[in-house]
Symmetry: C2
C-alpha cells in the first residue's frame, strides 16, 4: 500500500492506494462520533456494502445506509435531499461521519451532503471507480448538477481520508475504466511529458487492468492533483489547469443530457478539442495533436462527439465556471505537456476546433 | 451611522447601523463582479426593492431579482432551488454577488444559496427586521429547514458587509418587532447584566420604536454577538451560548409547524424555560426568574407555549444540534446574566420546567 498526503494545513488528509485494503484498520482513526452514514448506489451496494458495513460496525459504530440509484442523472437536488432525509430519519446529529462508497457521483453527493448537514459533518471517501480514484476523490470539490449546468451547486469539502482499492476495479465496466483513463491522460497532457511516455508504454496493460500498473497510474495522477490542489485549494489559479478538456467536455455532457456520455468520455473529446485549438493557435504541432488523439484512442475513448449545433455548444460553454466577467477562459496547451489557462485565443479558431471534432 | 467590525481574519466585515443609509455609497466597495442577484420576499419587495435595485444599477451593475414568498415555512429546499434557478436563468457566473434584502429567512436562504452556487460567490446582507439585524445577520450561519428539524441543512457563509437601516423598522409588524426584542433580551440574559438594566429602563421606548434607542440596542446586541463569533466562528464552544432559549424554542417552533410561532416568540418562551430550569437547579433565584419573565412580557412576548405532549417536546429537543454523542446539552444560567452550556442538569427538573411553562 502507498500513502499520499494532500497538504492542506489543518485539513491535511491521507490517500491510501493499494489492493485488498482493510477498512476496519485503515478507517478507524478517521471516523468521528458514533454514527456513520454510508452513502452508496444500487450498483455498488451488492458488491461492497456488506464488507464496509460489517467492518465499521465491528468498530462499535452505529451504521445507517442511504442507497441511491446509479447514474449522473440522479446527481440532483432531489436525490441530495434523500441523503438529508436518511440522516435525519436515522437521528444523526452533528457529531457523525458520512462515508461515500461509490464513484464520482456518490462522492460528490455524499461530500456535499456532509458539507451541508448541520452546516458540516465529517466525510470519508472510498472511491470505487478509476475516475473517482484519480480525480474526484482529491481536491474537496463536491456538488450536484442543475438542469442549466453541471456542478453548479456545491461546496469545497475535504475528506478525513480517501481509500482507493485497486481490487474494486475488477468489477468496473469497460467504459468506466476508459473514462477513468481519460483523467489519467489529462495529468500527462497538462504537465508531465514523462508520464505521457509512461502511458504510451503501458496503456495496453492499463486497459488490461494490471493492478500494479493501475496503482502506479492512480498514485502519479493523485500526486499531481494533490500538489496542484495544495497550492491552490479554492481554484484561484493553477488549479484551473485541472479543467483541461472540461469546458468543451461540459458542453458535450450537458447537450447530450447528463449520463448519456460518461464524464471521462466527454473530457476525452474535450481534450482533443483543446489540443486542436492549441494546434490552430500555433502552440503545438500537428504531431503533438496526433499523439494526443492516439493515446486517447488507445484508452478506448472517443475523439469526436456527435453533431451538436454550434450555438448550443457555445451556450453550454458560456455556462462554464471559467467564464469571468462574461469572458470565456480556456485551458489550452502552450506545449504538449504544458497547459495554461487563457482568454487569449481566437474565437473563430475555437469554433473550427469544435466543428472539426464532431461526427 | 455607527460601524461595527466582525473580526474574522481575512473574512473580517463591517456592519453599518444607522437610519436612512445610502446603499449606493455604502455597498459599492463590497460588490464583486458585474452581476448582482437581489433575493427578497413578497412583503419586502414592494417597500424597498426598487430603491436598492436602482441604487445598484446606478453603479453600472446588472441586477436580477428573485422574489420568494414570505415566511419561515418557505425556508426549504424547494424554495432554495428557486434561487439557483434564478441565478442560472439570468446567466450568472461565479464572479457575482448575492444580496439578501429581507429578514432572517431571506438572509439564511440567500446566504446559503451564495455559499453553494458555483461552490461559493459573494454575499451582502441587508436585514430589514429587528431580529435579523441583531441576530441572523451576524455570524455567518445560513441554511434551510427540513421537515424533521430546523436549520438542519446549511453552511457557514460570512457576508462582505451588513447594512442595518433603522428606518426600515417603521414598516415592521408589531409581532416581528417583539420577536426581534427577544434576541436583544437574550444578549442581556446570557452575558450583560448592565444591558438588562438598560433594557428595563428603555423597554417602553423600544416597543415605541424610538430610532435612537433601537440603534443602540442593535449596536450593543451586534457587538456582543460579533465578539462571541470572532472568538468561536465554528461553534466549538462559547458561541453555543447564543443558543440560550433555542433548544426549548426549536421544539416549540417545530411542534407548532414552522411559521406559526415566530422564531423570536419561541425563543422568548424557551428562555423562560431555561431560566425556570436554572432556578430549579438552584442556580438563579426566584426573583431572577421573575425578572426574566417580566422583561420578556414587557416586550409583548409570550412566556408560555401551548400544551405540547412531553414526549413530542423531548423528541424535537433531541433533534437539536446541541445533542453530542446522544447527550443533550442546554444553555442555562449559572447566574442571571451569565449563561453556561452544560449537560449537567437534572432531566426530571427539565421536564418540570417545560410543563410549568405551558398553557
Amino acid at each position: 500500500m502507498q500513502t499520499l498526503h494532500v497538504e492542506l494545513g489543518e485539513r491535511r488528509y491521507p490517500i491510501f492506494i493499494g489492493s485488498q485494503l482493510d477498512p476496519k484498520a485503515l478507517l478507524e482513526p478517521f471516523i468521528h462520533g458514533r454514527q456513520v452514514m454510508i452513502v452508496t448506489n444500487e450498483t455498488v451496494a451488492p458488491l461492497y456494502l456488506l464488507h464496509y458495513q460489517a467492518s465499521i460496525e465491528a468498530l462499535g459504530k452505529t451504521v445507517a445506509v442511504c442507497t441511491l440509484p446509479d447514474g449522473e442523472k440522479y446527481k440532483n437536488i432531489e436525490h441530495l435531499n434523500l441523503i438529508f432525509d436518511a440522516l435525519l430519519e436515522a437521528g444523526f446529529n452533528r457529531d457523525c461521519t458520512v462515508l461515500a462508497l461509490g464513484g464520482g457521483v456518490i462522492g460528490d453527493m455524499a461530500g456535499f451532503a456532509s458539507a451541508c448537514f448541520q452546516r458540516g459533518v465529517y466525510f470519508i471517501q472510498v472511491p470505487t471507480t478509476l475516475l473517482s480514484q484519480v480525480d474526484s476523490s482529491v481536491g474537496g470539490k463536491t456538488g450536484i448538477n442543475h438542469p442549466l449546468g453541471k456542478n453548479m451547486i456545491g461546496a469545497f469539502q475535504q475528506p478525513q481520508v480517501v481509500m482507493a482499492d485497486m481490487a474494486q476495479l475488477i468489477t468496473l465496466p469497460e467504459r468506466e475504466l476508459s473514462a477513468g483513463l481519460a483523467e489519467v491522460i489529462k495529468y500527462a497532457l497538462l504537465g508531465d511529458l514523462d508520464f505521457l511516455s509512461w502511458l504510451e508504454m503501458n496503456m495496453d496493460g492499463l486497459v488490461g487492468r494490471d493492478p500494479v500498473l493501475l496503482a502506479e497510474a492512480v498514485y502519479r495522477s493523485c500526486a499531481h492533483k494533490a500538489r496542484i490542489v495544495a497550492n491552490d485549494e479554492k481554484e484561484q489559479g493553477e488549479r484551473a489547469l485541472l479543467n483541461l478538456g472540461h469546458t468543451f467536455g461540459h458542453a458535450i455532457e450537458s447537450y447530450m443530457g447528463y449520463g448519456v456520455w460518461l464524464h471521462g468520455e466527454a473530457v476525452a473529446t474535450g481534450m482533443v478539442m483543446a489540443a486542436d485549438l492549441s494546434h490552430r493557435m500555433g502552440w503545438i504541432s500537428l504531431e503533438d495533436l496526433e499523439r494526443t488523439k492516439k493515446i486517447i484512442l488507445r484508452a478506448n475513448l472517443p475523439i469526436r462527439c456527435p453533431k451538436i449545433p454550434l450555438d448550443d455548444f457555445l451556450a453550454y460553454m458560456s455556462h462554464d465556471k471559467k467564464v469571468m466577467n462574461g469572458q470565456l477562459r480556456l485551458v489550452l496547451m502552450k506545449q504538449l505537456g504544458q497547459a495554461v489557462i487563457t482568454k487569449e485565443f481566437d474565437a473563430e479558431l475555437m469554433k473550427q476546433a469544435i466543428l472539426a471534432n464532431q461526427q
